[in-house]
Amino acid sequence: MINDATQAGQSTEAPRGAPIAVAALRQVTKRFPGIVALDRVSLEFHAGEIHVLLGENGAGKSTLVSLLAGMQRPDEGEIVIGGLPVVIDSPRRSMDLGIGAVFQRVLLVPSLTVIENLMLGGSWLRSLARGAALRRFDELSVLLGTRIDPDAPVSGLSLGEQQQVEIMRALWRDEKLLLLDEPTSMLTPQGVADLGRMMRRLKEKGVALILVTHKLLEAYEFGDRISVLRLGKVAGDIEPQRLQTMSEAERTETVIRLMFGAADAGAVPDKGHEGELAILLGRKLRRANSVDRSKPATLSARALVTMPDFAETPLHAVSFELWAGEVLGIAGVDGNGQKHLAEVLAGQRSLRQGRLELAGSDITWGRVPERRQRGIRYVTDDRLGEGTVGTFSVATNLVLKEIGALPFWRHGISDWPLIHQSAREQILRNDIRTTSELTPVGKLSGGNVQKVLLARELDAEANVAILNKPTYGLDLHNQRLALDRIVAAAARGVAVIVISTDLDELLEISDRVGVMFQGSLAGIVENDDDAGGKVRRLMTGAAAE
């Protein structure tokens, strides 16, 4: 895929030596109702440099990207491109200025071919000039070192390849500035390595790259310059010269200080941020291994098969056993059947073949209410789409899966005072930040919605808990809280399955890690010291050892 021998392609070679500011923000402020997303931010982006923007969720990274991509306009301050102040009032204008953006989600039309997707951005009136488009495609293929068939339908490409097409589209008009918003979140380790090589090639060609991430290791690996955003402000920069001379420990200390505020200076890493630090560094906070697998398994799945559904990978003979007090991590690139697995276990999706047993009794045909009664809990990754009803109160959402059951309903009549009182207790116990139990759950932040779900699902009667991407979209603090609650549940004896695309997280909390690949469980490995390597191999489809 990478072809380092051919270095041809058109050149916007930057003169070496003094870095040139391709783009700059000067005192840019952007407010949203109730918050200041960016507060007098000034930054410069240089040709031939990978500039990492690091920060927690809500630090202002995405707002900054959307300003440059023409999706929002600053309230104050100016954006300077090539030395001139500009107004970027539309994504088209942004592209005209030579800015290309690649977002977290793939924004391609799956039914069209690669080249058709790339030609979509053209003007309305001009006919589609396929010849010219193919020439540009070849140019960019050489520049990026990619080998993609221009006539392949996008739906047939891997996520990594789709992202390469997205990068091509971002560079289609010009190649001055490339924005990459958390580009590694959906990639396999191999895909991340390919992306890194691609970014370095672009850098050598004089493209200015902005890499948005919240992972410290990625920042070190790819970044020439690191800027840390915190609460809408630039907390600090690490210049390329300084970055090169620092040891990893120094870098970490500097970045942590910047991310969590000057108050922690000198006391880094202090106790309060140890957990966050573990997530940032992908370090293991291994818990004591005390699962007793000599007893019969709590949950056993035998050759589960589901019906194919629209755009979702079905299960294909999935078998495993799960013991009380155990955390089984399920790794894998998104879309390899994880959703079907979670839904089948929760009773939300019916099986075509296979058998499920809970503590020795057959529950294959039990539906959600029966399974819930037997202690099976499911925390969905689609928190607002199906996990909660956004317009309903926090209190109602806390009992959403108990409607009609004692003690909150007697003979089908709702005991609202009791429901509300219980909700107030839950809110206190789980530190759910909400104005009251009557607040619609849709108005809560993502972290607090997840706290509502965890409170509802990880209750005292839980025996088996399935959690799908429990930390997805949460800030570090809330990621930590969610992982802590999961580990605590396992310690109470709950058999836990955690599905995640974040391998570091799984290695941190799991006893065993299974890998989903194309609807099958490619293998389950004990979480020992070389588990990471084994799992990565399994994720690419290599056979289990």
């Binding site: 949203f32 109702p33 109730g34 918050i35 009773g347 939300q348 539906r367 959600v368 209410p369 819930r372 499911y378 969905t380 689609d382 789409g385 199906e386 996990g387 909660t388 009803v389 956004g390 317009t391 309903f392 109160s393 209190a395 109602t396 959403l400 899966k401 409607i403 009609g404 309903w409 089908g412 009549i413 709702s414 609202w416 509300h420 009557l438």
Partner: protein, 350 residues
Amino acid sequence: MSTRGDMAAGLKTTLQRVLIPVAMALVVGGLILLVLGKDPLDYYGFVLQRSLLRWGGAQETVTRMAPLLLIAAGLIVAFRAGIWNLGGDGQFLLAAVASAALAPALAADLPRALNLVVCMIVGALVGALWSVIPAMLKARYGINEIITTLMMSFLGTSLANVLIKLVLRDPDTTVPQTRSLGVDDRLPRLFGTTIHSGLVLAILAVILVHLMMTRTAFGLKLQVLGANRAAAVHAGLRVERLTIIAFALSAGLIGLAGAVEVLGVWGSVRADWNPAFGLLVVPLVFLARFNGYAVIGFTLFFSALMVGGESAARRVGVPQHYVLVLVALLLLFLALVEYLDQSRRKPSAA
């Protein structure tokens, strides 16, 4: 979710959000009359006088509320469950025809009360039956019920006419209609007025539906279904069964409205009679935000407009359907006030 605490706190803003749009609709409606060269004060005054101030008009207004309230009750069930039952006219008419055919036939053999109860039950069942096809299509295959209920409504109104003209026709009349139920066999009148007891039934039905939706597990399940179908599946609700039950309840109540209108007011159904209440009530239910108590108020308002508007239109010389213009304006202003209110609130709330 409305609870007592909510309701008390929100009452003031709710009143504001209703009264301001009503006033604006009346003012703009008046301006339109002015443009047409009519005297708006004359029109409104006449509407008020004929519908509420004059005793006969007031009785007529209140009587008119009975079928509207029952239909509203049926629509609240459906809309809260996220189901667009727009087939009310067909369900209403078929139930009316069924009870009109049955009541005179049974009148000789059954005591009055029993006859009325049987006919109302049959009316409700016929209404519910007419929703079975859209309900099954929606529950099983997810086919859009807006289309299917409207189609079934056209079929239902036509079938009602066919039945009157070919099967149930009273041979003693020249105009095709069903046999007439004697005045003494109809729903009893209240306290010597012309208002029939179907009104009590209707008010009870609306209140019961409201309590069902807000205070019972079943009502909450329907609301979950209506607010987020994926969440209903996730929470393990029996989505198919709930959908079919909600359809049946909704159409049953609308069928009951047809039976009550026949048994209380008309005594028979003439061919080509179609008051088209089903679609008229839809905006009222939205104006009331699916709240049963608010629906009673809006229905009174609308009945008065309908009853007064019929004669006022003749007198002032505007089309009879001018009332609908006022309802449309009311809807527009209600949405506008709501929008302004929300955008005003947002900065402080967030």
